[in-house]
């Protein structure tokens, strides 16, 4: 790659990153300001620096338990989603069977239902099952949009792997489970990384279902946050601090899966 092209690319990247980071920077400064400070005048950094907003969140169990609840159901959801999606995606990418294309597309249609009206039946279903206000209820409800997504992403990556690899492995005497875990999974690492991250992300930020299905014991952070809006006005500063804290777990997750995303086939062993 020649020098000029590289420089253009870097410039574009830097411009985008600035665009991406600025609103987050704004949230960060807001989280260190007081409400008066935020609303009174424009300032690039907090003039009366304060940790109070974080202190409010981290010392109040009704705030921080929201993070714990969210993490529990998001983890459950991600694990279930990926483990059921892996075999299904393999089936879709390698075999043809009765109704395969229809089922594949049908899966995705489950992401297309506008939530407003569907909340009520969800509420009724989970009340009937006695699962209301449990972590597993939210984890199960979120499968509706995460499983189809995981299947689609993984299928895309699996289809990129030539089938000769499967055949060679069988000739070499690998059993299917051993082949799948030892050879196939490492090849689609990047796909698994992306799928897991997206499952985490969509489940983490989903508000309507999570709020409908929980009340106290499993109340997620996104629902707890809505309390910053009250009759006496918005508590901007605490909301910003809570927002900053919601980024942290996801950033840690992506830090751990980054190798899976960045090192795909090119650095695999084939």
């Amino acid at each position: 790659m020649n020098e000029r092209r590289l420089r253009k690319r870097t410039l574009f990247l830097v411009v985008y990153l600035v665009f991406a980071v600025l609103p987050i920077y704004w949230m960060l400064t807001m989280s260190f300001k007081t409400n008066e400070d935020i609303l009174s005048a424009f300032s690039l950094w907090p003039r009366h620096f304060t940790w109070d907003n974080y202190h409010t969140i981290l010392t109040d169990p009704s705030w921080y338990s929201g993070y714990i609840n969210s993490l529990i159901y998001v983890a459950m959801n991600t694990v279930i989603s990926i483990s059921v999606a892996l075999p299904a995606a393999y089936a879709f990418s390698r075999y043809s069977f009765l109704g395969d294309k229809h089922v594949f597309f049908w899966l995705l249609t489950n992401r297309m239902t506008p939530p407003a009206v569907f909340l009520l039946p969800f509420f009724q279903l989970y009340t009937t099952l006695g699962l209301m206000d449990t972590h597993i209820a939210v984890a199960l409800a979120h499968l509706v949009f995460n499983v189809p997504l995981a299947v689609w992403i993984l299928e895309g990556f699996m289809s990129g792997i030539p089938r000769e690899i499967d055949e060679t492995a069988y000739i070499d005497g690998y059993s299917f489970p051993r082949f799948f875990v030892r050879i196939f999974l490492p090849l689609i690492k990047s796909g698994v990384g992306v799928a897991a991250f997206f499952c985490f992300m969509f489940s983490w930020v989903e508000l309507l279902l999570a709020r409908t299905l929980t009340s106290v014991n499993a109340k997620p952070i996104v629902a707890v946050m809505t309390r910053t809006v009250s009759a006496s006005g918005m508590d901007w500063a605490v909301l910003a601090a809570a927002g900053m804290l919601t980024i942290v777990p996801g950033a840690i997750v992506i830090w751990f899966v980054r190798h899976y995303i960045a090192k795909g086939f090119a650095m695999g062993r084939v």
Partner: protein, 294 residues
């Protein structure tokens, strides 16, 4: 590429179907049930057939919201897909820089949607927000609460900021899974940068791009929380998209029947458009293969 027929593959797919159907089919049937009844009280239901559907389809406001929605979703796709691809190509492939860029790019995805709206509400304000303040300093007469176009653009830019990383991450992972052998072959042939992109990278990205386009399309078509928090649908109804209109109906007016009918129509529109997009993209993709570059 012909795949072997194997009906036993159903066994691998079955868990997925069970998981999804559990939470999908019953609620859908309930909504269908609502849509054909007039629920006067919990014990009195009257079957009204397709009356609600006819009523909903005649509403002028719905037509307006639908057109605005289509315009918005198309704008979202037109900007986010090319930008996402460009970003994925520009991201460093290895080393600490790659990790750092990856994390920074993903940050906006991790913020709950109501917080995204709230932050942009402040961020865009002329008096105390960075974006609004900067634009005002530069001489623009910008106000997202007063002018419909400004409001619309702010929602669009917010969506671009929020969701382009999704496209970029998918494409980035897709690019990383292209075997080195393809690039080596291209180098031997002396292929130009553009040729590499057009005949190796783009076809190999087809799978992830399909997902990205469909996801962005359906999610932007159902966008609710962010514009609701940012502009409340205004000024006027310039940023009232379909979902907000639906919520006004379902929650605001307690019209379960018409709201259910509306949801189903809404669902069918998304379904139809996604189906068209899906089939179109598949044809385009196989057309590439037919050209002999696979």
């Amino acid at each position: 590429m012909n795949k072997p027929v194997n009906q036993k593959a159903w066994l691998l797919v079955l868990p997925v179907i069970v998981c999804v159907a559990f939470s999908a089919i019953l609620p859908l049937m309930t909504v269908v049930n609502y849509s054909v009844q007039d629920i006067i009280s919990p014990t009195r239901h009257v079957f009204v057939g397709t009356d609600w559907f006819a009523q909903v389809l005649r509403e002028e406001e719905l037509h307006g919201a639908l057109l605005r929605q289509l315009g918005f979703s198309l704008a979202v796709l037109a900007v986010e897909i090319p930008l996402g691809i460009a970003l994925a190509l520009a991201m460093p492939a290895a080393g600490w820089k790659s990790s750092a860029v990856l994390v920074v790019v993903a940050l906006s995805l991790l913020i709950p949607w109501n917080v995204v709206g709230t932050i942009w509400q402040i961020y865009g304000r002329v008096d105390i927000g960075l974006l609004g303040h900067t634009l005002a300093k530069m001489g623009f007469d910008y106000t997202y609460t007063g002018k419909p176009l400004d409001a619309w653009l702010t929602v669009l830019v917010m969506d671009i900021w929020h969701w382009t990383p999704l496209v970029a991450l998918l494409c980035f992972a897709g690019l990383r899974s292209i075997p080195d052998a393809y690039y080596q072959a291209a180098r031997i042939d002396g292929a130009s940068q553009f040729a590499v992109f057009r005949y190796i990278q783009l076809p190999k990205l087809r799978g992830v791009l399909m997902i990205a386009v469909l996801l962005r399309f359906m999610d932007s078509f159902m966008i609710y929380t962010e514009p609701f928090v940012l502009t409340g649908g205004g000024p006027g109804n310039s940023t009232t998209f379909l979902s907000q209109y639906l919520t006004q109906k379902a929650v605001g007016q307690f019209d379960v029947g018409p709201a259910a009918a509306f949801s189903l129509i809404y669902f069918l529109i998304i379904l139809l458009l996604c189906f068209v997009l899906y089939n179109w993209m598949q044809r385009v993709g196989t057309g590439d293969k037919g050209a002999g570059h696979e």
